[in-house]
Every structure is written in C-alpha cells, then in structure tokens.
C-alpha cells in the first residue's frame, strides 16, 4: 500500500475515532489522542465487526462485541481477552490532512511488530513476496526448514501425518507467521505440508539471515523471541493462559 489520503484532521473528534473506507476497499479507523493521530484496521480481528462502533476513551480501544482491547498508541493487546494486536498503519499529517502509509509489509506481521525501524528495514530487504495459486505447495513434509513465511492475503492449509493428508487444522490470519521452525535449533525438517487454498500472497524470509539481523539488534531480537515462544505455547494448546 502506498500513501492514501483519508480525511481532514477536523473530522476526527478530540480523543475520538471515525472509520473510513478507502478506494482500495480497505476499512481504516482513525483515532485521535491528544496531538497525535493513529490509523488501524477498521474491522475487529476477532469477528470483523466495525471497531468504530466500540468504545474509545483516548487511550484504550474496546471492541463492543466481545470486549477485546488494544492500546491506541501501539495497537497491542490490553488485558487477557484479545488474542491478536491490531494492524497499524503509519500516519502522516500534512496541512491538516491525514494520510495513511504502509512502509513495510512486515510491520503487519505480529512477530515483528516490536522490532526497531532499522532492523525492520533490514528484514524488509530479506523478504521476498511470492504468489501461490489454489493448490500451490509452499513446502512438503521432510523439506529443509530454511525459510519462514508471513501470510499477506489468501488462505493456507497444513497437512500432517505420514502421507501428508490429514489436516493439521491451523487456520491462519493475515499477518500471521508460519514455518517458524526456520528460527529454531534442531528443527531441520518440515513436519507438515503447507499448501495454498486460494490465490495467496506470502512474504518469505530466510531463517538464518533473519536470525543474523536480529542478533545485531538484541533488543528487537529478544522481543521477537518472546513473541515466538508465546506463539509456540499457544499452538501446543497450552492452557496456562486462563
């Protein structure tokens, strides 16, 4: 996404929010907090209800439907209900007009949301955008775990079992990272087969190069590894998060 004009600053109430449909069919939520404007995905990542119908007090945004909450300055989950952060867009204000820019596709990836801008730029250079049609195979059981993937659009299915035919049952959301064995030690072979279920767009990063980039910025690296461990526990079906 490039730079899109959304609205006039005067349209957004002080410490309030409003939603807009962009020409590209994207729904964005613009929120004001003091002197700053923020832009987020307009639909709740839980069940796609309009976030503009929720509650916002100038600091915390709450979806009215099941009360997931996010910090308006970062889009991060507040409390224990929200399962995912909000997708944040960069905002530029010029002469009282609000523009939304998407500088890095990786920014939408939860795994990298805490990474510093410099490191994100390095990772951006590593990322390759790939398109798969319906039925396209991303990787097979037994393949080397060189790369990790981020789903930008579309749907991906995982098959496990000896012959790779039983569905593992993961349903991915936009911005979700998979193939993360590429970041782990002693996980050299894929244990699932990943196929695209419809036309899908993925970002693909080499695991080793990603680790190198993170090593040179240990703060970002630490935050990524923390996110990764949460991700893994969730996928193990851990019940330690009541």
């Amino acid at each position: 996404m490039s730079k899109i004009r959304i609205c006039n600053t005067a349209e957004i109430p002080s410490n309030g929010m409003k939603e807009y449909d962009t020409e590209g069919g994207l729904k964005v939520l613009i929120a004001n907090a003091g002197d700053t404007y923020y832009a987020y995905q307009g639909l709740c990542p839980h069940q796609e209800v309009c976030l503009a119908e929720g509650y916002y007090d100038g600091a915390v945004l709450t979806c009215h439907q099941h009360l997931w909450q996010w910090d308006i300055t970062t889009g991060k989950e507040v409390g224990t209900l929200a399962e995912v952060p909000l997708e944040k867009y960069e905002v530029q204000v010029e002469d009282g007009e609000i523009f939304v820019v998407q500088s890095s596709a990786l920014k939408a990836a939860q795994l990298f949301m805490d990474v510093s801008d410099d490191t994100l730029q390095r990772l951006d250079l590593l990322a390759r955008r790939e398109k798969y049609g319906s039925g396209g195979v991303l990787y097979n059981i037994g393949d080397p775990t060189d790369d990790l993937y981020i789903l930008e659009s579309g749907r991906v299915e995982f098959l496990i079992g000896r012959d790779g035919t039983s569905p593992a049952g993961f349903v991915l959301r936009k911005g979700e990272v998979f193939g993360w064995a590429a970041l782990l030690e002693n996980q050299e072979r894929r244990i699932a087969k990943a196929t695209s279920l419809e036309d899908s767009v993925l970002l693909r990063l080499n695991g080793e190069a990603t680790l190198k980039a993170l090593e040179s910025d240990p703060v970002s690296g630490y935050l990524v590894m923390r996110k990764l461990s949460t991700l893994i526990t969730r996928h193990l079906g851990s019940q330690g998060e009541k």
Partner: protein, 345 residues
C-alpha cells in the same frame, strides 16, 4: 456424521447425531467451541463450511447478520447433513477439567409461580443430577415451541437435582406465551447445559459487583448464594444493583434481605427504580436494602465511584442495559477481563 473442526491452533474431530446442532455436539465432547448466547442471536459461534452440507434450523436467526460470506453459518443453529469439515477463526482449547461439560438432558417443570404479573419462577426437576457453576445458564426447549431459550440458574448446589429459573414475559414471545398462558406444571422439557462463562468461584478472591436488569438478577442470585455458602463476604465486598421500572416490578426482596443478614455489611444491595422514587413503605419493609432512582447502570456508577479496586463485575439483562453498564465500567477504567456479562438477547 463426522465433524472436523480446524481452529487457529489445532484440529478436532467429533461425531453428531441427526439433527444435533454442531455447537452442542462439540461442547458435549468438551471442545471449547466459541459461543455466547448459544441460541442464534449473537453471531459468536460463526464458522466457515469447507466441505459437506449443513441444515440450518433457523434461517431467520438474528445472529446471521454477523455472517459475511455464503459459506459461513452459525454452529448453534446448524446440524450436519453429511460429514463436514469447518473452520473456526479463533483459538479453541479443550474445556478445562474443572469446568462442567454440558450435556443434553430432560426435566419436568415441578413448580411455576408468578412473582409479579410478568415474571414467573420455575423449578425444573432433572432426570439426572447436574453440576454447574454459579452464573451459568441452561438451554430449555418446551414442547411445541421452536428453538431453545437460554435461562440463567437462580439456585446453586453441588449435584443439583432441580434447577430454578426466573423468566420475564416477552409479549408475543414464543415461550412467554406458552409459559404465561398454559398450566405448565408437570410438563416435560428438553435441556442442554450448563453453559456460560460469566461464572463465579470463591477462589476468585476479588470484590464482586453485580449489575442486573429485570430477570438478569437470576444469575446474580446463584453467584450470591455460592458466595454466601463460602462465607465469601467476610473477606470481600459485594455490591449488587438490581434494576426494575417500579417497585411493583421488583421481586426477591425478602431473599435479598435474608442474604444481607447472612453476609453482613460487606454486602450492599441497591434496588434501582427507573420510573419512580421508592415509596417510604419500601424502606420500612426492607430496612437492609437501599433504594435509588434511575437506570441501573447510572445508579451503579454513582454508588461505585472510587470503589473499583480489585473488582470482578457480572452484568446481565437486556442488551442495551448491559452495553450501558459496560460503558460505565470502562469509563471507570476497569479492564475487560474483569467484566463478565450475559446479554439476554
């Protein structure tokens, strides 16, 4: 029929019998599928059909307005026609070992008595004892009335042999017309439950705030009786706000007075009347209760000012009342993991 559910974190398989709703079948197998009302209004149980065919038991269900695509459906209203494979967009965990797994059962309405002209108290004797948590609800289906209704339990016992409900009459409503116009004592009903996550456990170790409109008070009574059994209010505060229009619409005031006697000053009960000031007689008859005028969420907001430390809130009643109460609690900076609610939609 075989059901394969692909959730965000893993897959599950279970079987359904003919006509059995997919949600109920999954929950009976201790699979924590997402739901809220379990009765077709809220849209929380939506899923995507990947393969196979389902039959929609209630194509007019209001919850369908939350569906975006043709291949989405409500698990609480649909049964499988063939083996099906479906996708659920959230994390689905097995129901934890200490939570009661719901089941289908039968019961007989053993007593029905009017508390006010439009509120009825029902007792249903179960054909098998049932465990449930304070604050949970049950789905009930009466003969000749299409669909299940969710009603919150009023009582709380271990191994309960009967369940108590209070039901508010909804003019023109399917089960309302049946309950209020028929002699329903002795009638056999189908039940499914227990359901609902707005539950109270003594191990919560927090002050308890209950805000209820009309029959929403049902679940609060269950919570209070569970708390009283454990002498909970010797350590924690309880604030209960019960909203009705006029004093004539209020009920269970004697029960509340008894609870006050039992639990002491840490339990505070306020009856909020939205359409009149409380007559002096009310205060004389119920010296241990407080009366105030206004909508129940406003009354609660006034009384609770500065009193939100270490609080778990339970809300129940008509959806606009619950939404208004949520707004009050958010303004008071409560985080939503401490706000539990049942919308009686």
């Amino acid at each position: 029929m075989k059901i394969q559910v692909n959730a965000r974190n893993r897959a599950y398989q279970f079987e359904t019998t003919e006509g059995e709703k997919i949600l109920y079948a999954g929950l009976s197998e201790a699979i924590g599928l997402p739901y809220e009302c379990a009765s077709g209004t809220c849209g929380t149980c939506k899923a995507r059909l990947v393969s196979g065919e389902v039959i929609d038991g209630w194509p007019e269900a209001p919850g369908r307005k939350y569906l975006k695509d043709d291949d989405e459906f409500l698990m609480c209203q649909c049964a499988a026609k063939t083996d099906v494979s479906i996708e659920v967009a959230s994390f689905v965990q097995p129901i934890e070992a200490d939570v009661c797994v719901p089941a289908a059962m039968k019961g007989v309405i053993s007593s029905a008595r009017l508390l006010t002209p439009d509120v009825i108290h029902l007792q249903v004797r179960l054909n098998q004892p049932m465990e449930f948590d304070a604050g949970q609800f049950m789905l009930v289906q009466a003969p000749g009335v299409a669909g299940y209704r969710g009603w919150s339990m009023v009582n709380h016992q271990r191994e309960a042999e009967s369940l108590e409900f209070i039901v508010k009459k909804k003019p023109g409503g399917g089960i309302s017309e049946w309950l209020f116009n028929t002699d329903c004592e002795g009638v056999e009903v189908d039940l499914f439950g227990p359901l609902g996550q707005a539950t109270f456990y003594p191990s919560l170790a927090k002050n308890v705030l209950c805000i209820a409109g009309g029959s929403g008070i049902a679940g609060m009574l269950s919570i209070l009786s569970r708390a009283a059994q454990n002498d909970y209010f010797s350590q924690y505060k309880g604030d209960v706000f019960f909203g009705v229009q006029t004093l004539k619409d209020a009920f269970f005031l004697d029960e509340f007075s008894k609870l006050r006697t039992l639990c002491g000053d840490n339990l505070n009960v306020v009856i909020a009347l939205s359409k009149e000031e409380a007559p002096a007689s009310a205060l004389n008859d119920h010296p241990q209760l407080k009366f105030d005028t206004g909508y129940v969420h406003d009354v609660a907001g006034r009384h609770m000012q500065g009193g939100y430390q270490n609080v778990r809130a339970y809300l129940a009643g008509p959806p606009p009342m619950v939404d208004a109460a949520i707004r009050v609690l958010l303004q008071a900076r409560m985080t939503t993991d401490n706000i539990c609610y049942d919308k009686f939609s």
